[in-house]
Symmetry: C2
Subunit: 138 residues, 2 copies
């Protein structure tokens, strides 16, 4: 599906390199620009759209400046099968896969008649590190 180009390679590399955090399209554009040969903005957007469509990258809305953020998740792990914990402070994304969470889905389905889509659902909150920082500040 599609050619492999210098640009497509560099965009995927960049995303994988920063797989532990989110980046906006502009951030990526600027990071790529620094190098010898940059990548056009539209190209960045076009690839991000594709990568989101095939599940390689996850898109988050509602960032600070009204711009979307993107994060590599890879296609290996079937993300619909587990839940995601996203830290609202540092942006870290944790993939949580445990029995309790599967029970949760069943519970919600049986008791509340609602079929949860694990792939679309994200738990927002604070990760251990950020929770500690928060409490020490206060």
């Amino acid at each position: 599906m599609g050619y492999q180009t210098r640009q497509s390679r560099r965009i995927l590399e960049l995303l994988q390199l920063h797989k532990n955090r989110c980046m906006t399209a502009e951030e990526m554009y600027l990071l790529l620009k620094d190098s010898s040969e940059g990548v056009g903005q539209s190209t960045v957007y076009r690839h991000l759209e594709r990568l989101c469509a095939d599940g390689t990258v996850r898109k988050y809305l509602g960032g600070e400046g009204g711009s979307a953020s993107y994060q590599y998740v890879g296609r290996e792990t079937p993300c619909a099968a587990h839940f995601h914990l996203k830290c609202t402070a540092c942006g870290a994304l944790l993939h949580a896969d445990c029995a309790f969470l599967h029970e949760l889905s069943e519970h919600i389905l049986k008791e509340h008649g609602f079929a949860v889509d694990g792939g679309k659902t994200v738990f927002y909150g604070l990760c251990a590190a950020c929770a500690q920082k928060e409490s020490s500040v206060k």
Copy 2:
């Protein structure tokens, strides 16, 4: 906090009237326009911002056309204390408050070291009615 005006009243009425679904700012603007005296777009946005800030209205990003959606939730119910189930098909928002969900928070905190923020977290999936429609179509 603030004056009560014809516009502020009409906006709140409209939101309460459609409390079972989401509306975009433009949709609201158009609905209000139909009546004898409309409400300016900026006024709609300005009130929605306030209502979101004080918890009366919930804002959702990532709708079809890239525009935000808003839904009345009311300030009576402390939404941080329970979870929200949002149907991706019909847009219905269910407020789920049960023991199992509280357990979940504790589980995630203890086992995964993550402090879930119930007010920000939304479960996406299909409500009973839409799940049935989906399966009958297929």
